[in-house]
Structures are given as structure tokens and as C-alpha cells.
């Protein structure tokens, strides 16, 4: 049913001071797939993203990525980002003192070596690429503005836009819809759905309505491992899921 997976976590565990944040977690995602992850607070959603992006090193288990599969465990955060895994944080973190354009330019897929960056000159292709991306996330009229002046929703889009600019193969998105108006949510859903046509997108979200609108497979995490997986209807009808999460 499923093609070869792009990212695969196998038997991953990690504990902080005896508290098992992730417990024997296994998870796969294909190369062009949208996946939502839900779960109560402390279920290990953020920790899982930390492990994939290299912030946290697991006590055991493996994290494999790409074809041929390559372990991510020995790579640094920036190396993992460079080989195609992008991450958006829960709170929008854009560089508020810099213009929207500069934010995009920094994220644009280009050499990250300091010398190349130092001698970088703006090319027309890059200019066009930024314009296209800005249009995609609806910020094409804000390019010259300082990003600190943007509204909360716009900052979220800018961050998603920056993620897209990195051209990652895997996109990890943490609560993209938090604090958004209904229209903004619509827009966000569309952006994510479109992105998932060409790459793997993992969305962590609390809001069930939002998840429902993504129309994708859902993984439910609980106490650091997978509780259920399947369509939104499947998991919302699952007894154990109702017990720990939806029932309350």
C-alpha cells in the first residue's frame, strides 16, 4: 500500500532524568505525503521533532532518512537541515529585525558556506524565486517590510514560506494554525496541502478541525509511543484514543 518511506524512526527511546519522553517509538513517512500528528500535552510530539532534527540525541533506536537510507543520529542540526529536513517551530520564529525579503533570502536553497555567503550577489533567478514563494504564502506585497511588523498569522506564513524556500524533502510543522483567524487557517491548510504534493509534510496540531481539513493520515501519540494510526475517522473512533485524548 505504501511506497518506500523517506523518513523512518525505529524503536526510538529517550528519557530525561528517568522520565521517558519517547518510548520505543516507530514512525514512517513517504516522500510525498501529508501526515498529522496529534496527542495530548507531554505525548512526545515536540521531542520527536527534536530527535529528527538533531536537537536531542535518542538513548537508543535508529532514525533513517532518504534513499539509500542514511542515519541522522550522527549529524548536527545544520547538517540535517542541509540534507533536506526543514522545521517550523511552535512559536513563530522569524528574524524580526530584518525585512521579509532578507528572511526569504537567508532561507533560499543556496550554499551555506560562509565564504559563498560573504561573496553572494543577488541574482535575478533568486529574486524571482523569492517573489514566487512570497506569492505562494501571500506575502508578495510585504517583501520590503520589517518582519517584526507583520501580524501573527503573516509571521506563521513567512516561516512556512522560509521552510519552502529551503526546498526540503521533509517538512516538520509544529502547530501552524495556532492563533490564526479562520480565513488564515484556510490559507494555511492550502499551503500545506500544496506542499505535500511534492514532499513529505508532518503537521503537529491540537486543533481537530484543522486536522480534519488536512484530509490525511493521522498518527496519535501517547506517552511517547504511537497509540493509533489511520484516517481521521478511524482514529477518532478508536476506543483508546477517545480514552486518553478526545474523551476529555
Amino acid at each position: 500500500m505504501q511506497e518506500a518511506s523517506l523518513l523512518e524512526l525505529e524503536g526510538v527511546s529517550v528519557s530525561f532524568d528517568g522520565f521517558k519522553a519517547i518510548n520505543n517509538l516507530s514512525f514512517q513517512i513517504g516522500s510525498a505525503e501529508l501526515r498529522a500528528i496529534i496527542g495530548p500535552n507531554g505525548a512526545g510530539k515536540t521531542t520527536m521533532m527534536d530527535i529528527i532534527t538533531g536537537k536531542t540525541k535518542p538513548d537508543n533506536g535508529s532514525v533513517l532518512y532518504g534513499t539509500p537510507a542514511k542515519s541522522l543520529l550522527r549529524l548536527s542540526e545544520s547538517q540535517i537541515a542541509r540534507i533536506g529536513i526543514g522545521r517550523k517551530f511552535q512559536r513563530p520564529t522569524v528574524f524580526e529585525n530584518q525585512s521579509v525579503f532578507d528572511n526569504f533570502l537567508m532561507a533560499l536553497k543556496k550554499s551555506r558556506s560562509p565564504l559563498d555567503v560573504l561573496f553572494y550577489r543577488l541574482e535575478n533567478t533568486d529574486l524571482e524565486r523569492v517573489k514566487v514563494l512570497a506569492e505562494e504564502v501571500g506575502l508578495h506585497e510585504q517583501l520590503e517590510r520589517t518582519s517584526g511588523e507583520l501580524s501573527h498569522g503573516q509571521k506563521q506564513w513567512l516561516e512556512i514560506g522560509m521552510l519552502l524556500a529551503q526546498d526540503p524533502k521533509v517538512l516538520l510543522v509544529d502547530e501552524p494554525a495556532a492563533g490564526m483567524t479562520p480565513q488564515e487557517r484556510m490559507h494555511t491548510t492550502n499551503i500545506l496541502k500544496k506542499a505535500a504534493q511534492t514532499r513529505a509534510v508532518v503537521v503537529v496540531e491540537h486543533d481537530m478541525e484543522f486536522v480534519r481539513r488536512l484530509e490525511c493520515r493521522v498518527t496519535v501519540l501517547h506517552e511517547g509511543s504511537v497509540l493509533a494510526e489511520g484516517s481521521i475517522d478511524h482514529v477518532t473512533n478508536d476506543e483508546s484514543v477517545i480514552d486518553v485524548y478526545l474523551g476529555r
Binding site: A81, N97, D102, M106, V117
Partner: protein, 397 residues
């Protein structure tokens, strides 16, 4: 054509042109007023103060780059400044002592051998710390070229090793500041030892006498150094603006604001920080190499941690995150400081107590600095910005 201009460096950084013109006017003006070349309205000692102030401005630019733009509050850049001074001072002292020694041996029955000259130079320089051997670290002291290279290499290497270790282990914030302070303290304590090979707390002296130019008066040499310092400062200003104006500057500022996020964009933050740290260390070293021949003496006390903190104070007063702010801060604080401590201001007698400005200047500076941190966090440069913006707004109306 027009867009090409719009993308040009000068268009993006209008302050560069203004700054360079101001610097040129100052330097040429002072030359005309100087005793060495002009009408003699400005004393040689004031020319020296100006030249030294320009060197302080240069290191302030370095400090602003590393702290204001990259977010590393380094309390160690004066160590690099001092090291630069030591490197050039070694040549100045060695070459001049050698000249003196050769002169004194002219009438010896046998013409001196290279070994005899070396021994005599050794006991001349190191007699004061009870030695006569020339230490290994002086092996290149005879060569101006190599010592000039060492001005860049030694502080650069120290900055590289220290920065590599500190950034690799992701020490940030106040921890990093304290670590840099520790580095500075270690270096100055090391130099305070008599067997450090750099004359312990005596330091290197007589640096104002340039070997081979003993005939030229200080009136003229001081103007030369004023020019050299001005050119270095101008170049430093351009380089600093170039570094921070493009995408590199964007990344560096992003690192200052949110290091973790930059890492997730795929940039190896450590290398960027290291690069900025090393480049600024080298700028600081060059500033020091220009400063100490004008000051005439260097000793380990100059490297003590307090000096680096003063450097941070200059930049904070000037307004960090603005290159011209650093220059304004360094220039104003050092000039006002030499004004206050130079005894030019009459003391105020209150009858029961006389306010001596020499004693009270540091109190004023200390509390004034606290006030600026509290009420004008963007410093003098921030005030300047506000004025300019007001002007622009009024014009656009």
C-alpha cells in the same frame, strides 16, 4: 543602470561616504594645524591623542561587529589589541636596541660579531628582568615583515583556538562573556611573569622611537601615525559595512537574534561566529599595532580584563548595532575622558570639599553609563538616528 546603482555598496551604506569624508577632513585639517607639517596650532601631544583615539575607534568597530551584530559580548578583544601591540613592539624595541648596541660598539677593538650583537641586545632588553638570553618568541623580532605578519597571525590564532573551543561546546550569553574574560585574565597574568619572555610587568617601552628614523622628529612621526590610523580606520569602516550589509550580515544578525533558528536553516552557526570572532580579533590587533607606537609603552596592565569591559562600555554608549555608533562612542568617551583626567577643567571648591575632576570622572562615567543603559539603550547612535529620521520625515512632508 539605475538598479545597478541601487544595488551598489555605497547606495546601501550612505554613512560610509559621509564617514570617510569626515575622517579625511579631520586628518587633513589636523595635518595643516600640526606642528610637524603645518602652522603649529595643534600640539604634537594632541595629534598623538587623536591618532590613539582613531585606533580606539577601530577596535570599537571590531567590538561592535562581534557584539552588536553577532551577539557575542566578548570581554577579550583588548587582549587581541594588546597582542598586536606586543608583536609590533617586539620589532620596534629589538631593532632600535640593536641600532644603539651597534653604535656603542663602533669603537671596540674588534668589529662585533652577530653573536656579540645579539648577546648585547639580549642583556639590554632583558637585563631588567634579570636575564640576557633572547627568548625563542623573539626569533623573528629582527624582521619587520614577519612581526607585522605576526600582528595578524598570533591574535588570529588565539582567537581561532579559543573561539573554536567555546563555540563548539555552545557556550553562549554571559557564560561566554565570562569565559572571554577568563582568557584575558589568563593572558595578562601570564604576561605579568618575568619569565614570560616579554619583560613581565615592565612591558615594552620606547616604542615611539622608530628604528632607522631617529633623525625624524616626533612632530612629524605623530602626523604619519595619525594618517596611518585614519587610513586603517577608514578601511575598517568600509570592511565592517561590507561585512554586515549583504547576506552575510543578514545571517550574522540572525545568529544574534536566534541562533537555534539559524541552525535549522542549515547554517553552521559555529563557523560563522568563529569567522566573525577571528576577523574582529585581527582588526583589534591591527588597531593595537598602530596604537602602541603612538603610546610609546605597552605593559600587561593594558590587557587586564577591565580594558575590554571599557571597550564594551564605549560601544554601548555609542549604540551597538551601528558601526558609526561604535566610532562615536569610542571617540567621545576617550576624548572626554582625557579632557577630564588631563586637568584642563578647573576644580570646583565647595568650601568644605573640593571637587577634583580627576577623582570624580570615573564616578560620573560609571553612573552615566548605567543611566544610558537604562534610559537610552540604543546609545548616542540611537539619538543620532532619531534626529536623522526626524529630518527625513519633515522633508517628506
Amino acid at each position: 543602470m539605475k538598479t545597478a546603482f541601487k544595488n551598489s555598496f555605497i547606495y546601501k551604506n550612505p554613512s560610509v561616504l559621509i564617514f570617510l569624508s569626515a575622517l579625511a577632513i579631520l586628518t587633513i585639517g589636523m595635518t595643516i594645524l600640526s606642528e610637524g607639517f603645518g602652522v603649529g596650532l595643534v600640539s604634537t601631544s594632541f595629534i598623538k591623542i587623536l591618532g590613539k583615539t582613531l585606533c580606539f575607534c577601530l577596535i570599537a568597530i571590531a567590538m561592535d561587529l562581534v557584539w552588536g551584530y553577532c551577539g557575542i559580548l566578548s570581554l577579550g578583544h583588548f587582549a587581541f589589541f594588546g597582542l598586536g601591540g606586543y608583536m609590533v613592539g617586539m620589532w620596534l624595541m629589538f631593532a632600535r636596541t640593536k641600532d644603539i648596541v651597534i653604535n656603542s660598539m663602533v669603537n671596540a677593538p674588534l668589529p662585533p660579531t652577530p653573536n656579540e650583537i645579539r648577546d648585547a641586545v639580549g642583556s639590554q632588553i632583558f637585563g631588567v628582568v634579570g636575564g640576557s638570553e633572547i627568548p625563542m618568541i623573539w626569533m623573528f623580532a629582527d624582521s619587520l615583515l614577519i612581526q607585522l605578519l605576526l600582528v595578524i597571525l598570533v591574535p588570529g590564532l588565539l582567537a581561532f583556538v579559543f573561539g573554536y573551543l567555546a563555540f563548539r561546546s555552545r557556550v553562549t550569553g554571559v557564560y561566554l562573556s565570562i569565559l572571554t574574560q577568563a582568557m584575558t585574565l589568563a593572558l595578562s597574568l601570564y604576561l605579568f611573569q618575568n619569565d614570560s619572555g616579554l619583560r613581565g610587568n615592565n612591558g615594552l617601552s620606547g616604542l615611539q622611537n622608530i628604528p632607522g628614523l631617529t633623525e625624524v622628529s616626533q612632530d612629524i612621526i605623530s602626523v604619519w601615525f595619525l594618517w596611518a590610523s585614519a587610513i586603517a580606520l577608514g578601511l575598517g569602516y568600509i570592511i565592517a559595512n561590507w561585512l554586515i550589509s549583504g547576506k552575510f550580515g543578514s545571517v550574522v544578525r540572525a545568529i544574534r537574534d536566534d541562533e537555534t533558528r539559524v541552525r535549522y536553516l542549515g547554517y553552521t552557526v559555529e563557523i560563522y561566529k568563529l569567522l566573525v570572532f577571528v576577523i574582529t580579533a585581527i582588526i583589534a590587533a591591527i588597531a593595537g599595532a598602530l596604537y602602541y607606537p603612538q603610546a610609546g609603552i605597552i605593559n600587561p596592565a593594558e590587557i587586564a580584563p577591565i580594558a575590554s569591559i571599557y571597550l564594551a562600555v564605549w560601544v554601548a554608549i555609542g549604540g551597538r548595532g551601528r558601526i558609526y555608533g561604535a566610532v562615536i562612542g569610542a571617540a567621545s568617551v576617550t576624548l572626554i575622558s582625557s579632557w577630564f583626567t588631563g586637568g584642563q577643567i578647573p576644580n570646583i571648591s565647595l568650601g568644605f570639599y573640593t571637587i577634583k575632576w580627576i577623582d570624580w570622572w570615573l564616578v560620573i562615567l560609571g553612573f552615566g553609563f548605567v543611566a544610558i543603559t537604562l534610559y537610552a539603550p540604543s546609545g548616542l547612535g540611537g539619538l543620532f538616528d532619531r534626529l536623522v529620521r526626524k529630518q527625513v520625515n519633515e522633508e517628506s512632508k
